[in-house]
Structures are given as C-alpha cells and as structure tokens.
C-alpha cells in the first residue's frame, strides 16, 4: 500500500485519501457568459495523460483537507504535493 505525503500531515497510507480529479480547473468567473460548449468543457472534460498530472486529493480520514499533487500516472509516484493556495511546482 502506497504512502501519500499529505502536505498537512506527512506521509499516510493511501486508504486514508480520496482522489479529486484534475487540479487547476477553476470554476469559471462568469458561467452565464459561457457557451454551452465552454461550460461543458468545464463540467465534463478532463485531461487523462500518461505521465505527470496535476491532481486534487483529499485526506478524507485524516485532516480532511484538500491538496494538489503532481503524480506520475504511469508509476503512481507522487512527485510533489502542495497546498491549494500554492503555485503548481515545475517538474521536468
């Protein structure tokens, strides 16, 4: 069982966490101004890369806080974790 480094608590077992999908998909500032297509892009469409991916996670049975992570979807490696208010780290 993998350890996930919660930026609030430190490394904890993966069963304590839930996945929250792609990170940095901001709620549109003015949804009413969007076309159906643009709104659908926000609601339904997400990237699904093999390799590094910025994701949201929540430490559900720990501190119950959300955070972001750069994870390699090919290896499940957590390359970086950061709090929601922190910028996305640059990883090559």
């Amino acid at each position: 069982m993998q350890l996930i480094p919660c930026p609030w608590c430190g490394p904890r077992e993966e069963v304590e966490f839930h996945y929250g999908g792609q990170a940095h998909v901001a709620y549109p500032a003015a949804p009413a101004d969007l076309s159906d297509r643009e709104w659908a892009e926000y609601v339904f469409f997400r990237d699904n890369p093999k390799g590094l991916f910025a994701e949201r996670w929540v430490h559900s049975t720990g501190c119950r806080r959300w955070f972001n992570a750069i994870r390699d979807t090919g290896t499940h490696d957590f390359r970086a974790v950061y709090r929601p208010n922190e910028p996305k780290p640059v990883i090559s």
Binding site: L3, P31, W39, V58, S60, H76, N85
Partner: protein, 948 residues
Amino acid sequence: MTNSFRTSTGGRVNRELPLSFQFDGTPYSGYAGDTLASALLANGKHDIASSIKFGRPRGVFAAGPEDPSGVIQIEEPFPEPMLMASTVELYDGLVASGLPGQGWLADRPDPARYDAVHHHCDLLVVGAGPAGLSAALTGARAGARVVLVDSLSEAGGSLLGSTEVIDGRPALEWVESVTAELDEHPDVLHLQRATAFGCYDDGFALALENRTDHLGGAADPDDTRQRVWRIRAQYLVIATGAHERPVVFNDNDRPGIMLAASARTFLHRFGVLAGGRAVLFTTNDSAYAAAFDLSDAGVTIVAVADSRAQVSERLQDGCVRRGIALHTGHVVSGTDGDRRVESVDIAALTGDNEVGQAERVAADLLLVSGGWNPAVHLFSQARGRLRYDDGIGAFVPAEDLEQGRAVGAAAGHFGLADALRDGASAAAAALGPTATAAVTEHQVDDLVEAPSAVLWSVPGSGETGMAFVDLQRDATTQDVLRAVGAGLRSVEHVKRYTTIGTGLDQGKTSGVVTSGIIADALGVGVAELGVTTYRPPYTPVAFAALAGRNRGQLLDPVRLTPTHVWALTRGAEFENVGQWKRAWYFPREGESMDGAVARECRAAREGVAFMDGSTLGKIDVQGPGAGELLDRIYTNMMSTLKVGRARYGVMCGADGMVVDDGTVIRLADEHFLLTTTTGNAASVLETMEEWLQTEWPELRVHLTSVTEHWATFPVVGPKSREVIAALVPDLDVSNDAFGFMTWRDAEIAGVPVRIVRISFSGELAYEVNVSAWHAMAVWRAIAEAGRPHGITPYGTETMHVLRAEKGFPIIGQDTDATMTPQDLGMSWVVSKKKEDFVGKRSFTRLENQREDRKQLVGLLPQDPSVLLPEGGQVIETADLPEAPVRMLGHVTSSYHSATSGCTFALAVVRGGRDRLGETLYVPMNGTPVPVTVSDTVLYDKEGARRDG
C-alpha cells in the same frame, strides 16, 4: 511399521515428544518438530494424494511450500482444505487426508480468532537463513528497529537441511548464537512461523504468522490462531533463498520422486530417509550433497545420472568412494511403478537432442535437480526488475529496489559465504556507517562448483508417455506445445491456456520450466520470453486471516438512534438504512405490516403520531461567510433567511443534477443548521468542504457534522398542536405566533429543545430537536403528553407513504443522477435572482431544455387494488410489443394510501407533465397494467392541512 524410515539419531525433531495423528484413516506417529510430510515419509507413506485430472498417485515432491503435489485436507480439529503436507506442522490429534486436487470447506463457523498487527521498522528481513540472519544481526547491532520473519518453525533456513560449517563450527551453532543475540535487542522483532506473503509499495509487506496450530490441543482457544502482520519498513532485505527446479521427463510425477535438496532436508532436519534405493538425476553439482549424505546415512544410491558430459574430480571421487555408479552425459528418460516409483530408466544423451537406449534400474526414490530458481517472488512484487541468467537458467534480480535488496540465494548467490556477506552488506547499505562497523567476517569453505547445465525437459519427453510440467494442474509438455501450436506466444497466455502455475503452489517449480519449454518450442531466448508475473500471496492465505477481527458484528459499524431500545421493546420491525437501524413500523399483536402502516398513517392524518427522525444528516455552518456559502450551494436564496426561520433547499452538482435536499434554519446571523437526507449526510459535508477549500477559500466558514449530536422527533397530525402546547405551556403555539417554517427555543422535561414547524407529511407538524444525550427524556415526555390523544409511534414506512401522498420526492429513490429540480417539478426552488450557484449554468444547456426529459409524475393504477412494483417500466401500449420496447420511464415509489383508499405511485416519465390524464402501462408479470398519469400530489392538493 512405525517410523521405520527414521534415522536412529539426528534431525531437529524431538524424539522425547512422540505425536499421534491420522492420515486417510490410518493412525501414525511422528515427533514434535515434524511436518505432516516428514512424518508420513518416516512411516514409509509416499502416495498421499491423487492428481486432479488423471487421478494419478502423487507424493511429497518437495520439503517446502514449493511442493506442487503433496496436497492434503485437515479434517480435525477444524476442517481446512488445500494445504501442503510439507508446510503443516505436526501436532497431536491431527486428522488429515490426501486430496484429489480439491478439498472441502467447513460447514460450521470457524471458532478460531484471527487478528492483525501494524508494525514499523527500519529493516524488514524476510527469511532467517544465513543471509537473513546476517542482515538482521548487523542491523540489530547498529541499533536499528529490525523485524525478522521466517516461515519455518525455527531459524536457520537452508542450514537446517545441510551440514554446513561456519567459523569452524556447525552452522546451526552459529544460528543459535545469532538468534540468542537478536533476542537481547529490545528493538528486534523476530517471528518464526511467519511467512511474508506480499510486498507492496513504499516498503509495505504483509506476513502471516501461524501462532497456535503447532501446539495442538495445548493451544489456548482464546489465543489468536493466525495473525497478519502489516509491516511498513524503511528497507527490505529479501533473503528468501531459492527453490530447486525439477527437470521434466516421462512419468516424472510418481510418489518417491522428489527434489534432491528436499530429500537432504528430510534427512538432516527430520531424520527421515525418503527411500532405500535411490537414483539421482542432476544437471548441476549441488545435488551431489544429497546423494552423498543419503548414502552416508545408509541409503543405497544406485546411480547418478548427470546430464553434463563432465563432472569434477571431487564429485567423481565422492561417487567412487561410496560405490555409486556415475553416468555423465545421461538423463532419466522415464520411470515405472504402481503406487510409487519402482524403477528408473537411465539413458545417454546422444548428439542432436535425442536420448539413447534406456537402462532400467530398480529404485524406490528418484532425486531430481535441474538447478535453482532464486525465490524472487517478493522482490518482483515490490516491482524489482528481473533478468535471465543463462548460466543458472533462472531469473535473478537485475537491480536493487529503491528501498531494499535481494540477498544470498534469492539474488542468485548460492554460496554460504556469499549469503553471509550479502546479508550484512545489505543492512549496512540500508543503515549507513553504524551498521557498516557492525559487519562481521566469517570463515566459510565454499566448494567451487562447476557450471550447471540448463535442461528444462529431457528430449522426447511426452512424445510417448506423460511428462508433467505442473504436477498440481496435471499439465504436461504436450499441453504447453498445444498452446504454442494454437498460436499463443506469451507466457501469460500459455499460463491461462494450460492453467500452469495457477495451483496453490503458484507454479514455484513449474514457472521457469514452462518459460524454458515455450522458448525452445518457439526458438527464442528465455530472456526475451520472460516469466509470468509474481503476484501475492506467496503462499495461500485463508480469508479468515485476512478478515481478522472484521467479521460478524465487527464487520461494519451499526448506528442506533436514541430511541432504539424503546422501539425494540415496542416490538418494532427495523430496516437498515446505510449503517443505521431505523424503526420500520410498529406492528401490534397479530397485525400485518400493511395493517400497521395503515393505522400509523391514519393516526398522523387524523390524530397525532411521532417518529424518530434522528438519522437525518445535520451540518452546523458557522462564520461570516456562512450565508454566502449556502447561497452558492443551494439553488435558492439562503442568506436572506431571517433568524428564527426555516427554508427548504435543494442542492445540485455543477451538471445541474439534484444531489440532495433538506431544510436550513438560521440560528444566528452567522450560524445556520442544515439537514441532509440520511444517506447523503457524509457526502454533502464532503462536497461542501470541497467547494469551500478548493474554490472559495476566501469564505470564512466552518462546517461541522452534528448528525449524532441532535435527536429529531417529528410530532405530526392535527392534534400535534395540543401535544406541544401541553409540553410547553408557556409557548404560544398558535399559527400566528408560531407559523410554518419557523422555529422556537423551548424546554421539555427540563431539557432545552428547539422546535421547528417543518412538515414532511403535509400535516400540521412540530419537529422537536434535542441533544441526543437527553433525547429519551424528551421522547418519553412527548409520549406521555400525547397519550390522551392516542399518540402513535410510526416508522419509516409510514413516513414514506405520508410524504409520497404529498408528492415529496426522496433524493436517491425518486431521483438518480440525471434529474434536475425542473424535472422534479420544483422550478420554484430555483432562484432567478441569484447571479450564480452550483449547477445554474447547466439548467440552460440544450440537453436540459429538452421537452422529453424524464419528469416526476404520479401514476394511479386504474384498478386501485394493484400495487405497482417499484422499478417497473412505464410503456405506451396495452400490448407488450416486440422487443426492443420503448421505455418511457420507471416507477420510483409505490404504496397503498390508507387515507385515499387506493394504491398510487410516483414515477419518472418522458415528457411526463404533458401527459397528465393519459393512460400508460406498467408491465407486471408480463401483462401491461393500465395507469393514469397524474399530478404528484395525491392528498390535500391545496395544502390546507399544514397549519392545522
């Protein structure tokens, strides 16, 4: 004939402690320290099982968990199927039998206790052979937290079955001194009878400890029988040794045929002679030790067939000295015998992959060695990369793990000196300078071995007789060739086609051999072909052990409401709602469910009734941003709610679909309390937290789950006002003073309560909220005050009927994830004033504007005695047309209405609101039943009753 194959001295068994056991109905005896396999062999019992497909007799093929054929069933003391005789420690009173490849499960609950322990360490060492002990000792001396697990009853590993010497003394003396020193270290956990069966990410490993079986009847029945150790290690040392590999030849499955080193183990560890006249068939030097030791112990070694053209002088001398006929360049091409091997055919390897004329020799034991496979299972599970080593014909670790290393024989380093050095240096690599300083050098005389030959299968095998690759699956070379002939090229595909490697031994002796045979057939290298994936568990693990304490009542928490015991004593029937037990209905003596529900409904509609609604989810929302948060979450406006008032609300996902509904009351300017449906309490809190933390961190709001803190008792019916008035004399309960959707603080039975004018039934109703701690006092007071009015307790069934009569949907029953508030006929709950809220933009999507969306409507069966089935499909025609039938929707709720004297249903129907008055059909048992589409509200359409 008891223990007639036991040596007079030697072995690790305790001859002072004889044990009685039964096998296949025959009583036998063995000694403490025996395995079932060694005890049977000591009694000359070789054919112990039969094979799954062909029913051929099978015996003990190996002394450890790699044995593919010694499959047994324990009958007493508690039935356990499919175990290896070689891994079952003998105990007094054991009753077992051989299996034809399949066992039987107990028909009674397992009384034994199973549990799990979590452990953390710097160094996890798997295997207490020379490499593992060396690693553990080095780590312990460096002060590290060490866990050492080993599957056998005592430490020593391969040393238990050999005659090795370390530092001039018998190796087992060294083992004893190491374990004694480990015992002195408080941070060392040393577990024997503990098999590491799985390695996972980040140094996580599982081990199964057998704690009591070997004690037999002396075991404390309350003690834990098996324990799963969940170990998180900083560094993993895999010292799991190696498994000897067989060579495939005709009739290679008879009892009395076994791996050479296993026979040596039976001799040295158990003092058991596996036969009287033996032949050794080998491709390498290591197996000669078995032949020589058995010869020295009195077994006649008739012949050695070595597939290599040349053998070292040392081995030649050893054979000459013992009078053993050595046939180099020879193989075993077949065997014969009835219940056991009786003769062995030895033939020369000639030129191009053929064998010459065989010579038949009489023997009751055939030792086989095709070399060694490092036990790389755990290493591979931990995602270590393997490489094929041509020299030994086996897969070996190609690298170190990020947090671990395979050492000794598991790494393909078969010498004792290598093992000792490997173990110590792995610990040093893990722990750094302090451990490096603790490394001890040892004096060991390893013999220089000549190169081995790699031979998977004797030429011609299977062409005339049967040559088994996987004994447990009865899979032969012909099966492998048939798979390849069918076009299969991958070892994984061949495995699934032939079932090779899918037995409980998981192909420990057959996996690499299969790869070799496939590679030869395809004319490719074994390296490029690879080997099937190693998956946990390494050895079989019972579900009972994995379940541990989490069974029976401890499987899942049970949540009880404050009035649970009261309802129990009233004879209530309960229903499970998630983890909650809720009172379903309260039947009187001899009353049916329908009768009870009808009576409870009448009480609520005509008099007064009360229920325990405490399972409603409750979330306390506090902070300056509380109103703003609720405005963004709910479809309607909450920030304008006045303190002292309540409002119904619906929340949607960003896709505009309804996720939950409930009421919101405002307790203070910056303090709200909202309710959710029982099943969504956790998910609503999570969703709100998600928005708050990830999108709107600027809002200063705290969310707290208070579901268990508040008990909630609706008091319902035209007489409810009188009951509340009696309970709270100083509260003005008139409709003007205490109107619908308002709340008041009050006191009942000396307990502070909050009373809310909310109705989920359409009737005049007061919802009494009280701290759960004091709930029963208030509940009893309500019952007492209601007695003059015949107050009736009701359960969830009546609650459902009452709300359905009013067309109130239950989110999750009348809706799925495709229903908008508009689909539910609740446009009134969607704010037009708010610029945005979660889901708003989706309402104007083209898809959500379609007129043929499924909408919530009522259905009235035209025969008012017909109760529609929930989930029943709604169709257009009175005759069931040819499939595919166009489905208009389905029934979501269906009840008898005692009040209206008819049955009724709620349903979602395409364009349903435009169909009011139409006749549609719901097939029941294949016959479409006519129904009239109606408004969702069956009872009190004007809403005249809610104010009493």
